[in-house]
């Protein structure tokens, strides 16, 4: 009988209760050899122990004569791995990856030495031969982690010291060496000496030599790096390249011309760098599809391969295009369950159109793919016997050269699930699983649903601590016709829990910053989705360049495991710089009063910025961004606390801004502004922002293009303290190119004397945009913008800098930029310049029909914009006609056409608009001195000639060039 079971040492990595559950040896039980053997096996299987010895000691205990003593030697696991003294390349990440010390994996003796060897190889591949790599291992018996810190003394990087060539290279050696670009030089110029060795330079050199041979049609060229011979005395490396140039392969097309670039895309021998019959046949098929897509549906392609001379191969593709056809119609017959529109959404072939697909989009392969897609649609919905045939119809509807495609569908019977049994899951789990899987009693039966269910069920178990869960299914026919009984069998396996969460690698970041993002707690069931979510949240902080995660001792059979996070902090500083330009039609010159209705201006722009990440180690960011152009100079200093107070939904920002802007040519404003903002994400779609802005705006009087009498009223320096809140609801499917959804914003703010404001007003801006797909590619989109400023007190007029200015590419395309609304007009006291003055209300509505135009990337837009900036809310009018040259409170209408070209960053757009009722006004043409010489109280004859106002009109035609959709 066993009196007692002791462990040596007493503190074991597994809790005693877990050990007692695990081991077959029991206090009070008979001591059996097989139990002792199993104890060794069970303990070793946990992965926690490197060695185990079981002894028996005599006992005087009444419980039994034997004390069993289990002596263990601990295993260690890779904790954190770091390195100092990097001489990039290789960079830190590359070097640590080469060490092959996988986070959480067993750290056996000798692993550090192996890691050094691997890293040395990587260093040598980068020309660092004399590197000294030392390491320190820190073992923590409590968590069985072994952290390794490497110290690198890189030494001097070697240079290339010549190139050895062997093989059959058919080109002058100097030519090949030049291709490698291992000699120093610039472009075609070569300087004395050699470049430093890096792995990418070595590989790049080999690739360039290969490409140069391929350019000479030696497609089967083989260029291999045979050896890197290092000379320690001179610290140089001499690579040996083996070149087998292979034959010159000429590919020609007979009967139809195909560009060389297109040929390289279509004939796979270029990509595979091999020539065989299968690849040539694939090229033939690709050429057939290519010509069929051009309307040559009867094209015939054949090839012939000859070797006219040693070292030369000729491949001729003979293309017989035959007559060009048009895909005039697509017929779908036999469908009862799905309507034709649903099926058409699944098919890629397309009838010919006026602009898009002039001959239609068709090839035999596309047709067959469509046939398969229709069949899959049916099978996924329980029609497991569904058959679809596709037939191409010549002389469609009696018209020569027209083709039609007919899809004939035999749906067959729809099969349903009669009974669904889930075995192996608890009653609670089974009930939950039934709610998340696709198959269900009475639901259509399909194998695609089964596959999806398998993933769903396994995902559920994997994320609830069952990493070894298994899923199996079987089906039997039900007694009822066209019904099956399904049986899902689940074997969850042993459940695993989190022993603890270990975060390593923090150097300047505070522990609590990372801890607040960790969603996993000790005792939780191990969930891979939660681990991935935590990893994402740590990345979202923006302060870690790499977040590795692993389970410690992944193969070990133990109930509780450590979850490890190894964090690499990113560089503290990031810099950016950019060059750009604005092209816009905006108000007239800076020093003259000409062209108040706008001229086209090109404005180059430079920008630069610096950010300090992870400020104070709390994940906050301090940044300074500056931008300068001929229209605007701006500097913004900001402090951003993302995931404020540990709440991932809050972002706190403090920023200060200095801005000198001339984008409204009526004036140039100088603005100093400080903002405090708290953004709160309420849900995935909804955001609230609370903001306080304090700004001082001064108008540069020298740039004012308004009547001098208005200067004291509109252009005095203004201090504004504005408290505001914004609500943003974004339910768009794709913000850069929306097809469906809603976008709403509400912005309400008050400038009050209590906030230090010299002008008191309330400001409300609303926007509502909706997007409605009419078909797969056609969208109708509309947007409404409304703005309203109500003066509440303070100085008598709302100053220029606080008013609404609108018009242009993103608001109303009947206007040049910021040209909508009231203007400086001639009065009894003012000569009037005609420049825009902004307004206290605005109302705009735009409607767009977005549709495909040519091919896949070119789209078109028909649009209608209406609205204006109004002098006040009570002046908002839907009136079409302008009452007089002094009346700007009416609704300007514009319609037009736009082109969109799809790019990865959103569509590039050009819009052309025509506005039948664009504003007319009386403007001034002259200089500031001439303007000051005018006295509006005198008759025109007594004023200088320049004082006579010139009737003008905003051009009825406008164009806008921009990036992204209008709204």
């Amino acid at each position: 009988m066993i009196a007692r079971i002791d462990f040596d040492p007493v503190d074991q990595p597994l809790p005693r209760a877990e050990l007692d559950r695990l081991l077959p040896l029991r206090t009070g039980a008979l001591l059996r050899a097989e139990d002792v053997r199993q104890t060794l096996q069970k303990l070793f299987e946990t992965g926690r122990f490197a060695d185990v010895v079981i002894d028996a000691l005599p006992s005087s205990d009444a419980a039994g004569p034997v004390i069993v003593r289990i002596s263990t030697t601990l295993n260690f696991f890779v904790g954190g791995v770091s390195i100092d003294g990097i001489d990039d390349p290789p960079n830190r990440s590359q070097l640590l990856t080469s060490a092959k010390l996988e986070l959480g994996a067993p750290f056996a003796d000798g692993r550090a030495t192996q890691a050094v060897e691997h890293m040395q190889e990587r260093l040598e591949a980068n020309g660092i031969y004399g590197a000294k790599l030392r390491y320190q291992i820190q073992r923590d018996p409590a968590t069985e982690e072994a952290s390794v810190r490497f110290q690198l003394e890189a030494g001097k990087r070697a240079r290339f010291g010549g190139v050895m060539l062997s093989g059959d290279f058919q080109r002058p050696m100097g030519n090949i060496v030049r291709s490698t670009r291992w000699r120093r030089g610039f472009g075609p110029l070569t300087f004395p000496g050699w470049r430093e060795v890096t792995e990418s330079r070595v590989q790049g050199g080999v690739d360039r030599v290969r490409r140069d041979f391929q350019k000479e049609n030696r497609l089967q060229v083989r260029v291999t790096l045979d050896n890197l011979e290092y000379d320690g005395k001179t610290n140089t490396v001499k690579p040996t390249l083996v070149v087998e140039s292979g034959p010159v392969i000429e590919v020609r097309t007979l009967g139809a011309s195909v560009s060389r670039g297109r040929l390289r895309q279509l004939i796979p021998i270029y990509e595979e760098r091999a020539v065989d019959r299968a690849l040539l046949q694939e090229g033939s098929r690709n050429l057939t599809n290519y010509f069929q897509a051009q309307g040559y549906f009867d094209v015939a392609v054949d090839f012939n391969q000859i070797a006219p001379a040693p070292g030369v191969q000729e491949i001729d593709y003979t293309i017989t295009r035959n007559a060009r056809h048009t895909l005039a119609g697509i017929e779908i017959a036999g469908n009862k369950f799905f309507d034709t529109a649903t099926i058409r959404e699944r098919i890629a072939i397309h009838e010919a159109g006026t602009l898009r697909y002039r001959y239609g989009r068709y090839s035999q392969k596309m047709r067959d793919d469509d046939r398969d897609a229709i069949r899959e649609l049916y099978r996924a919905n329980g029609f497991r016997d569904a058959q679809v045939t596709a037939t191409t119809l010549d002389d469609y509807q009696g018209k020569h050269d027209d083709l039609g495609v007919r899809f004939e569908i035999q749906e067959g019977a729809q099969w349903f699930v009669d009974q669904l049994g889930i075995e192996g899951a608890s009653e609670l789990d089974a009930r939950y699983l039934r709610s998340i899987i696709r198959s269900g009693e009475g639901q259509p039966f399909s194998e695609s649903d089964l596959a999806a269910d398998r993933d769903t069920v396994l995902g559920f178990y994997f994320n609830n601590g069952y990493p070894e869960a298994n899923f199996d299914w079987s089906q039997t026919e039900s007694a009822e016709s066209n019904r099956v009984n399904l049986r899902y069998a689940v074997r969850p396996g042993e459940r695993q829990f989190v022993r603890d969460v270990l975060v390593r690698g923090l150097e300047t970041t505070r522990q609590e910053v990372a801890a607040s993002r960790i969603r996993i707690r000790p005792g939780d069931a191990i969930s891979y989705s939660q681990i991935a979510e935590t990893q994402q949240k740590l990345y979202d902080l923006g302060i870690f360049s790499k977040v590795q995660t692993a389970l410690q001792n992944p193969e070990g059979k133990e109930e509780r495991k450590y979850v490890l996070f190894q964090l690499d902090e990113a560089n503290k500083y990031s810099f950016n710089a950019g060059l750009g330009a604005e092209l816009a039609r905006i108000g007239g010159g800076v020093t003259s009063f000409d062209a108040p209705a706008g001229v086209t201006i090109f404005s180059p722009r430079v920008s630069a910025g610096i950010s300090r990440l992870n400020f104070l180690g709390i994940g906050h960011t301090v940044g300074l961004q500056a931008r300068a152009s001929t229209l605007q100079q701006r500097a913004v200093a900001s402090y951003q606390a993302a995931q404020f107070t540990g709440n991932e939904n809050l972002t706190f920002t403090v920023s200060t801004l200095f801005d000198t802007s001339r984008d409204v040519r009526t004036f140039a404003a100088r603005r100093w502004e400080g903002t405090v903002q708290l953004a709160q994400r309420l849900s995935r779609a909804n955001i609230l922002q609370y903001r306080f802005v304090y700004r001082r705006v001064t108008i540069d009087e020298n740039t004012l293009n308004i009547s001098p009498e208005l200067v004291p009223l509109l252009a005095q320096p203004v201090r504004v303290g504005l408290a505001s809140a914004s609500f943003i609801q974004d339910r768009r499917d794709n913000p850069t190119d929306t097809h469906r959804g809603i976008y709403n914003t509400v912005d309400l703010g008050f400038a009050l004397p209590q906030f230090g404001s010299v002008i008191d007003y309330g400001r409300l801006v609303l926007r509502n945009s909706t997007y409605h797909p009419l078909s797969r590619d056609v969208v109708i989109a509309r947007t409404l913008q409304f703005g309203y400023i109500q003066r509440l007190g303070g100085i008598p007029k709302i100053p220029l800098g606080e008013r609404f200015f609108a018009g242009g590419a993103t608001s109303h395309r009947g206007f040049p930029a910021n040209q909508a609304g009231p203007r400086d007009i001639k009065t009894e006291t003012s000569p009037g310049t005609g420049f825009p003055l902004g307004g206290n209300a605005m109302l705009f509505h735009s409607t767009e029909l977005r549709f495909p135009l040519i091919g896949e990337n070119m789209g078109g837009v028909l649009f209608h914009d209406m609205g204006n900036v109004y002098s006040s809310i009570d002046q908002v009018s839907f009136r079409f006609r302008q009452g007089s040259y002094q009346d700007f409170n009416y609704m300007v209408q514009a319609a037009g056409f736009g082109i969109r070209y799809r790019t990865p960053v959103g569509p590039i757009r050009v819009d052309f608009s025509y506005s039948p009722n664009s504003p007319r006004f009386v403007g001034f043409s002259g200089t500031r001195d001439q303007l000051l010489a005018c006295n509006p109280k005198l008759p025109p004859a007594q004023n200088p000639p320049a004082c006579v106002g010139i009737p003008q009109r905003i051009n009825t035609f406008q164009f806008h060039f921009s990036l992204g959709q209008t709204f």
Binding site: R37, L40, L57, S60, K557
Partner: protein, 211 residues
């Protein structure tokens, strides 16, 4: 008083008594443990079957460990591929000639006890060997394709190695030569496979056991 003294004496003796090692890890193959007692049992059974005295030296232990590693690798592969293997009852046929050496069952069991092995242990040993043999035959033999030239070359090599063997033609010995060569190539194939498996698994010998 006497009972207290007895207790104290017993306690003192217990504390002074040396610990006896019941078992310890000898070799690990991946997560599988071969214990020192596994080695000793195997040595005892092998010696019993050979009718020799068991030898427990380090070299013998290492040889036994290697054999048990190979056996584990093969039987593990057999389990993973769900191969049909001999059942426990199949050992009866192997035990019969062994038991026949003894007058009766009691003598047989006494011999086992003397050799410090159990009937169950012996049966398990025989079953493992049988299964290994069967699986090796199934797993590796069908891969062999021996050409006529190969058979002849092997026969000639055999004859050169054994010049005193009775002179018989190749045709007369074809069956035997074919079996010999097949067996040899099967074992070679098994060796190669085991070598590959060993390189893929982490096998650690605890040297203290083999001293």
């Amino acid at each position: 008083m006497i009972s207290r003294l007895r207790l104290a004496l017993l306690f003192t003796l217990s504390a002074a008594a040396p610990a006896e090692t019941l078992d310890r890890i000898a070799v690990t193959v991946g997560k599988y443990v071969i214990s020192e007692q596994d080695l000793l049992r195997d040595i005892r059974i092998s010696a019993f079957l050979d009718g020799s005295l068991p030898e427990f030296g380090g070299a013998q232990k290492r040889k036994t460990a290697d054999r048990l590693i190979d056996q584990y690798l093969v039987l593990q592969d057999a389990a993973e591929t769900r191969a049909a293997l001999p059942s426990a009852e199949s050992t009866a046929a192997l035990l019969e000639p062994l038991k026949a050496r003894y007058a009766n069952e009691a003598d047989y069991l006494a011999a086992l006890a003397k050799a410090r092995i159990s009937d169950g242990g012996l049966r398990a040993h025989l079953l493992a060997g049988l299964r290994m043999l069967r699986y090796t035959s199934v797993r590796f033999r069908p891969q062999m394709q021996i050409s006529e030239e190969g058979l002849r070359a092997y026969y000639e090599a055999l004859m050169e190695q054994n010049p005193n063997a009775p002179a018989q033609s190749f045709e007369e010995n074809r069956g035997q030569v074919e079996k010999l060569l097949t067996d040899q190539q099967t074992m070679q194939s098994l060796d190669d496979w085991v070598k590959m498996m060993r390189s893929e698994l982490r096998i650690v010998y605890r040297e203290a056991v083999f001293q």
